[in-house]
Amino acid sequence: MLRLLHCLMVMGLIACAGYVYDIKYRATSEAQQAQKLRNEIRAEKDRITSARAEWSKLASPDRIQELAARHLKMKPVEAKRFGSVSTLPDRPKPADPIGDMLQTLPQANVGETDQTPTGSVEQQ
């Protein structure tokens, strides 16, 4: 009885040790993976920072001013170039060129058109 108990205990012990060993190695590899990802994140953040710094340098107002003066024919905004909604003219009437043309046609012509229906069945 005691021997069987001992055997079971030793086996249990070996199983436990194996399990712990497995967990430990998995944990180590996870930790390594995490550290690797952390390093990658940091490198990525560093790259973002330097990219932002570079963008900020390229978009710096003094550089933009210089480039604009060299390549664009634009003038500074003066007060008189601003308008307000109230100074806008009224919206023009909807344009209808064909309708206008019809309006100007002599009334007599309308009466002279052929009243005979063609190409369709005459409606009752």
Binding site: K45, D46, W55, P61, E78, A79, K80
Partner: protein
Amino acid sequence: MRNVVGSIFANLSLRKAGPGVARARIILLLLVFGCVYGVIAARLVWLGIVPESAASQKARAADAVAQARPDVFDRKGRLIATDVRTPSLFAEPRRIIDVDEATDLLLKTLPDLDRSDLRTRLTSKRYFAWLRREITPEQQRAIHLLGLPGIGFLKEYKRVYPNGPLAAHVLGQVNVDNQGILGLEKWIDSGGLSALHLAGFATNHNLQPVELALDLDVQQAVRDELMIAKDRFKAQAANALVVDVHTGEIVSMVSLPDFDPNKSGSPKDPNRFNRLMTGVFEMGSTFKALTVAMALDSGKVNMSSTFDATHPLKYGKHTINDFHPQRRVLSTSEVFTYSSNIGSARMALAMGVEAHKAFLKKMGLLDRLRTELPESAMPLIPNPWNEINTVTIAFGHGLSVTPLQAVMATAALVNGGHLIQPTFLRRTEAEAKANAPRVIKKSTSDQMRYLMRLNVEVGSAKRAEVEGYFVGGKTGTSEKVERGRYSKNKLLTAFMGIFPSDKPRYLVLVMLDEPQKEQGAAAATAGLNAAPVAGKIIARIAPLLGVEPRTNLPTAQSMLQLRNAAN
């Protein structure tokens, strides 16, 4: 298992002692072993719960080279200062096998290195030698691919200001160890950052960024116009401030000559001197705005009060004269628009020395003004303060204050009467008003706005006029003291402008130090240099600041009548 060991022990001891003693021993042993296993189990659980010890965290922070600093943004979220991690190249000379090969290969990738210097460094018997600080990532990759033994890289934080000298005096500077030594950088350090650095926990990814009230576009426009003005009038220095009168936010601050914070240099270099905060000046006639406001606010003087400017004012051995003498009795508004020294002196005398002193104290002009930036200066106050001092201070001589201080006081005259501490950080109007004592009546402030506008319409500041923005302001020309005497040809000219005058939003100060007379000009007074420069600045920055231009604006005269009708 515990029972097995326990029973062996129990069997051994049972022979000598009686059963009672043995029992006690067994229990004692069980307790001891139980404790030991308990401690081990607790420790295991502890290690499982706490992911990393403080030590490993510290190691990681140290790897990031502790001196990281927070990013700085302008009010529109544009980056103006950041930390970039740059690799630096070093060698361990003792581990280098072939010095000639290493020298040749390194020179191929870094051609600007000095050959003989590189050789001496590589052949030295030291363990460590810097070869080049701050190389580009491409260079690092190329050198890494050479596979040279004994050559390595260290990553260091480097403070970068992408806009160069644009906001130099606001930002300040850091030293080689990335510690703030000037301006905002020093303020950032004082806010507990240095403690973080000592603990080694500061990396630039966990620091709260700093958001400034500064607007980069406005800053560029102001600096550009000032550079033109400094050249045109051959001035020693040119300074400008743009402040939001309702929040106290400093939207732009330029002090020329300035410097590039990316380049290291001594903090004692005169270009690093921020004249707007560290310099004290006699502000000249711009101070008359304060004198007039004091007189109006006392209730003893109104717009139609008169002051005799028929004759120069004799005071002991001093004679007070006017620059534009009218030789007649002037009204309050005429004293302001003709910038009469005699008139403003009489005005201040009518108030009395003590009242004058108390008023200036209330306006914060007799105390050191503290902002976020470490730079500040104590005003130079006459001691004793006699009647003659009140007479001269009434027109801006005899009391030296920092320009920023004068701006704070003038802003209070036009914003409805609140003295608001200027700030470099973002602030809402409610936050500003919560801590801003009322220093003059609202009605006085309305009158001051009218006077400022009138001065641009008909007075000495005509050249500051910008169509559509209703500019108001006061010019000031003061003579610089040279060897204890006021010099006639060394002037300090200033213009204190507001826009739009009916509802001021921004105050602009332009100061030129020793401007020269232009060809064909009558003089080098503020009305001929500082005022037109301010006009140009306002024309450029008003659209950037979202101030809507208006046409058919009322004249100052009708503005006052409207106000009187409302009362």
